[in-house]
């Protein structure tokens, strides 16, 4: 998958015109800072994926170890008609945390709260590390794959059927 290219010291893959960078957790802040210094003026999106139900994914560069969680952030530069890059960082299940981007892009504040709320990935140094969509006293992180899909209980659904 990887063609061996490196940008900002980070493996980079280009698929269908979209540039995807794969920093490690310890490269996260410096890569985003380098992007900002390079004219990427806006953090357009930040989300995360729980890959626990899809372990054998093949679209990672060879030197990137797949982990359970992946935080995905998109940045945009408005120079020359606009360029986009996407960062995919592997976050291990044992320590699901990442430094907050607040001091570089304060616009990620709500997005990081959403990722914490729905997927349980903590953001160190976030100024307001609270739930955003779920009730404050909610237990668990509903977008994780081990949380079952909600169902409306149907009467008699589990009762034995005579056939």
């Amino acid at each position: 998958m990887s063609d061996g290219t490196v940008l900002y010291g980070v493996p980079v893959v280009e698929t269908a015109g979209q540039v995807v960078l794969h920093p490690r957790v310890d490269q996260w802040l410096e890569t985003v800072s380098a992007l900002k210094a390079d004219g990427f003026c806006m953090a357009i999106d930040l989300t995360a994926v729980d890959y626990s139900a899809h372990p054998g994914r093949t679209n990672l560069p060879d030197d990137v170890n797949p982990e359970r969680f992946e935080v995905v952030a998109s940045f945009i530069s408005h120079v020359d008609g606009g360029r986009r890059v996407r960062l995919r960082v592997q976050v291990p299940e044992g320590d699901p945390s990442l430094p907050s981007l607040f001091n570089i892009f304060p616009g990620t504040e709500a997005m990081e709260r959403e990722v914490w709320d729905l997927l349980g990935i903590a953001f160190d140094g976030h100024p307001d590390h609270t739930r955003i969509l779920m009730p404050e006293d909610w237990v668990g992180h509903p977008l994780r794959r081990d949380v079952p899909m909600g169902r409306i209980p149907v009467q008699f659904k589990d009762s034995p059927v005579s056939r």
């Binding site: 139900a53 998109s74 408005h78 008609g81 709500a110 959403e114 899909m149």
Partner: protein, 443 residues
């Protein structure tokens, strides 16, 4: 561009420095009240022990919403007030959260648009478009030209309808109640056309992966020409009713000011970013569909205040209608959906004579079509800003993960900064000018 877009009195406040410093503040001078709901409730309930500070005895915590006529649905604002002045505030959201991103993992790619169309219910076609574009990128298929142009026609009409709804609610929030009826009246005309094309006034499920659900009905040009004759004179009436009206201007000018640097720092897109004078519109700068083949202007403001946001939306209706007028002339003939057999079911006649066609039809509608493994991000310019769809496929018939980057959700972060130091009545104008759709904020 008509004269009204260059809004603002000359004495409207413009920030002297183009620094986003105040966005980064975390201490008491920040505009954002970073309290949890429990902490805010404890403070609000205990008037004996107000928060510390120089004028501690004057400050109070006030909850506005979640059910309040001017909060556009179920938005709750925790406000720290000193008299009538808003010091710090925090939008509390989630009252409409129904887990649509989780639901999307249980729906096939063909069912997906029925889910996302319920996010931004004022501009449903844009969510469908972003979703469909993401699926098509993963599939690697091209949609036929007619489908592209039908999508563009419907989206521009939807943008006009959404901005007409804004004109209505904005007028209502500021006390121009007759405006509410006028805005609704014109929007209804557009929705009537939508009903003719898609069968539904809202939540259309019309734009689907591979094309659109149905071709335009016979005589659609006549309906479009009727709209094009009907709406522009009414927009001129809005100008007479609101744009030049001193009370309306005084309520909006200089209220909720944002600088370009602050807007960029807060990831703001759409009319709020353009109101600061920053010309960025995905339709022009990163053209998708066939926007590079039509002529239109990107409307920008100068002062970044609530009035500019009003004027931008009013003139974007005019630009949308200008695009629609060109689409009527340029609409190509051909298929309205791709003929890729993997995505599109076989025609009815084939099912009668071919067993394979019958199986194919059955498989598409029960199991759904499989999408190659991969991940992608597709973005469109919705009436509220950049609407993006991030999609991960594991090779199965359902998205492994589907995330919608809702412009309202991100733009809502500007609220505390826009309301800081203003009166609570200005806060109503600010919420209205941000034009959040809570269905998209909470998803």
């Amino acid at each position: 561009m008509s004269d009204v877009a260059t809004s603002g009195l000359d004495d409207a406040p413009v920030s002297d420095s183009d620094s986003a410093e105040r966005i980064f503040r975390l201490d008491e001078t920040s505009a954002v009240l970073r309290l949890s709901e429990a902490e805010a409730a404890a403070l609000a309930g205990n008037s004996e022990d107000p928060p510390s500070g120089d004028s501690a005895d004057q400050r109070m915590i006030l909850n506005m919403g979640p059910s309040h006529p001017s909060t556009h649905g179920v938005l709750r604002l925790i406000l720290e007030m000193e008299g009538e002045t808003v010091l710090r505030s925090k939008p509390v959201i989630g009252y409409l959260h129904t887990g649509m991103e989780k639901t999307a993992e249980d729906l096939t790619y063909l069912q997906g648009p029925t889910n996302v169309t319920r996010m931004d219910y004022a501009a449903p076609l844009f969510s469908e478009l972003a979703f469909s574009m993401a699926v098509e990128q993963l599939l690697g298929i091209e949609v036929p030209p007619r489908a592209t142009w039908i999508r563009m026609l419907m989206c521009e009409l939807n943008r006009a309808a959404s901005h007409l709804l804004f004109q209505a609610t904005n007028g209502m929030d500021l006390g121009a109640v007759s405006m509410m009826i006028y805005g609704w009246r014109e929007r209804e005309e557009v929705l009537r056309f939508f009903e003719k094309v898609t069968g539904l006034r809202m939540n259309h499920n019309y734009i689907r992966p591979g094309g659109v659900a149905a071709d335009l009905p016979d005589g659609w040009q006549k309906d479009i020409h009727r709209l094009l004759e009907l709406i522009p004179p009414r927009l001129d009436e809005y100008d007479k009713l609101l744009t030049g009206q001193p009370i309306f201007r005084k309520r909006l000018q200089g209220v909720g000011v944002l600088t370009p640097a602050e807007a960029l720092a807060l990831s703001t897109t759409g009319p709020i970013l353009r109101s600061t004078g920053y010309a960025w519109d995905l339709r022009r700068d990163q053209p998708y569909l066939a926007y590079d083949q039509v002529e239109f202007d990107v409307i920008v403001g100068t002062h970044g205040d609530a009035f500019d946001r009003y004027a931008i939306r009013l003139n974007e209706i005019r630009e949308s209608l200008r695009i629609v007028e060109q689409i009527v002339d340029l609409m190509p003939d051909g298929d309205y959906r791709t003929q890729d057999k993997k995505v599109t079911p076989p025609p009815r006649a084939r099912i009668n004579e071919s067993m394979e066609a019958l199986i194919h039809h059955f498989k598409i509608f029960t199991e759904g079509f499989h999408v190659p493994e991969g991940e992608t991000y597709a973005a469109v310019e919705s009436p509220r800003g950049e609407l993006g769809c991030y999609m991960v496929s594991d090779g199965g018939p359902k998205p492994y993960r589907m995330h919608i980057r809702g412009p309202s959700f991100v733009n809502l972060q500007t609220l505390p900064h826009l309301m800081e130091g203003g009166l609570i009545a200005d806060g109503v104008a600010v919420v209205s000018s941000v034009d959040p759709i809570m269905g998209e904020v909470d998803r």
